[in-house]
């Protein structure tokens, strides 16, 4: 067992973990943060994507012991995040989800590509989303939703979105 100290969704957490415990299992089984989903457990499907120090990471491939002194944000950690609020509304409005299993990680990836200005065209969104698999929708409505969210955020009525993001991943 190794003692780790980290921040999860803004809260300080201390735990003793075996070296082989994945970050995904740590979040799901020890923190009860079940919005992080496991679809393949070998880094292919993207359903377990979380933010580690503000960057998207596959939590099935990250070990909990490697997250000592780091900052983790899961889908449960975006309550005050304007960018995520806009994305959620867009996914709802444009029917960007069916069974909902890929949805939390799809949102986290979508938020990251808007943040990096990678949601300019349909082609760009599809390329950037290649690491997140959805078996239900055929992606069309997911791409439409991200495009709509990006446009809304760019239109200026979400001037505080950037500041909120920095707060969320600080």
């Amino acid at each position: 067992m190794t003692r780790i100290r980290l921040r999860v969704n803004g809260k300080a957490v201390v735990d003793d973990v075996p070296p082989r415990l994945s970050l995904a299992d740590f979040l799901r089984e020890r923190r009860n943060l079940t919005g992080t989903h496991l679809g393949c457990e070998h880094g292919v499907c993207g359903a377990c994507t979380i933010l580690l120090d503000g960057e998207p990471v596959r939590s099935c491939l990250a070990f909990a012991v490697a997250c000592d002194e780091r900052d983790v944000t899961t889908i449960e950690g975006f309550a005050d995040d304007r960018m995520m609020a806009v994305l959620r509304q867009a996914f709802h409005q444009h029917h960007g989800l069916q069974c909902g299993f890929c949805t939390p990680a799809m949102l986290i990836t979508a938020r990251d590509l808007i943040r990096r200005n990678r949601a300019g065209s349909e082609k760009e969104i599809r390329k950037e989303l290649a690491g997140n698999i959805c078996r239900c929708t055929g992606y069309t409505n997911i791409v439409t939703a991200i495009s709509a969210a990006a446009a809304m955020l760019a239109s200026g009525e979400d001037a505080d979105a950037g500041a909120t993001h920095r707060k969320a991943s600080a």
């Binding site: 989903h37 679809g39 899961t74 909902g100 698999i133």
Partner: protein
Amino acid sequence: MMHAPSSTGFGVGASLLRKEDARHLHGRGQFVSDVKLANTQDVAFVRSPHAHARIKSITIPPDAEGRVFTARDLPRLAEMRAVPQVNGFKVSGYPPLATQKVRYVGDAIAACMAPTRAEAEDLANSVNVDFEVLPAVIDAAAALTTTPSLVHESWANNLFIERVFQEGNLDEVARTADVVVRRTYRMNRHVAVPLEGRAVLAYRDHRLDELVVYTSTQVPHIIRLGLSEVLGLEERNIRVIAPDVGGGFGSKARLSPEEAAIAALALELDHPVRWVEDRGEHFLASTHTRDHHYRVTAYADARGRLLGIDVELIVDGGAYAMWPNGPFLETGMAARNLPGPYNIRNYRVKTYTVATNKSPIGPYRGVGRPGACFAIERTIDEVARAVGRDPLEVRMENMVTSTQMPYTTIANLKFDNGDYPAAVKLCAEAIDLPAIRARQQQGEPDGRLIGVGFACYSEQTGHGCGEWVSRGSPFIPGYESCTAQLMPDGTLVLLVGIQSHGQGLETTLAQIAHARTRH
């Protein structure tokens, strides 16, 4: 049936935002593996590394006592027996945990239980199974003539069932046809891969005298019936809960051995027990599908008009018949849909549903029809080639026309309306076929070859009671029941049998209720 658009803005035809979105968008959906019950233990299965082998012995380390369960430790767990009402179907038991033999790679042998899945996998790795490896049946087509071994020893051969459907006079057609085209087609095995794998969590509720089984399934009521059969319990003593289900595509529509084994295990324990499938297990041991071989002989006149087709259809059914319907559903669907939307009045299909040492097959998107569609559409193209005409013209000339509607196909499927040749023509115009043909003539600058193909498919719908009877379903889930409770505050509560695995039923069933109850 066509519905007028909703006049109230809520009923059938209205475009509504979904009720189920909010929880998923906030990561608060509840899939089986998200359900937390105190003292739950995780299970990993010991699975066969061999396609076909006799189990000589199973050695469990002394310190694993009480944590490793084989079929012998679960005496209440009977074999799953699919008994479709189809003449000539050979019934075989499917032991949820293998007893004398393993019959496919991934066949479960023992359930290993520990506080975490990782520890359960350690335990599974510590169990030693001594196998006597047997010749494996891997080629369903070859297995018709040479049998390396018997998958089920009590059978005389490896056929689940052999059937012939014949209509018209194919012998006469064979004598008079200008053109005979013989081709073989093959469609490979598929696996469904819903993003959420299968998962089961079970425990005993002593107050209600119930075995409670959370399972990621498309058919909770049918699973309850299946569990009652294999566990020898009355249905009222079993509660099956399908919470949010992360896709199914057919693969969660049969009683799985893992569901049966976990439920049986829960009966022996004083705490909850769960199994969450990993992706490797899904590829190996969930139901597979397709794996069709077609040998098609098509008879046509000099213009390419089809006079008849004579087909041998071989479906690789895998090792066991999945409860309740078995593998013939796949074969029957393919045989019925082979004539496609074409005027074929002479048809013979010999079907062979073969047992092999592969994962059992089950339903998956389209059940049998994709293979049939592929075979007939390729045949149309090959006939066109044989008579030297454009496949598009030959295809349109062979199609059932709008003036023939309503039309009953030779395989007894009814087309109520439509204009198939017009639909094909529309497609050809949309892609500017003459321009593509010209481009093909010209050749690509980089030497690539450009192909163009057309395929037509008419989806079979309205699977009512009669349809299920014709398939030999051992029970009839062709009608849906609903309990509606009007509450004192004026709200309506609907209890329904169908399960959403992404279809948004919480929204759409409310729409139907709105339309049906409003005056």
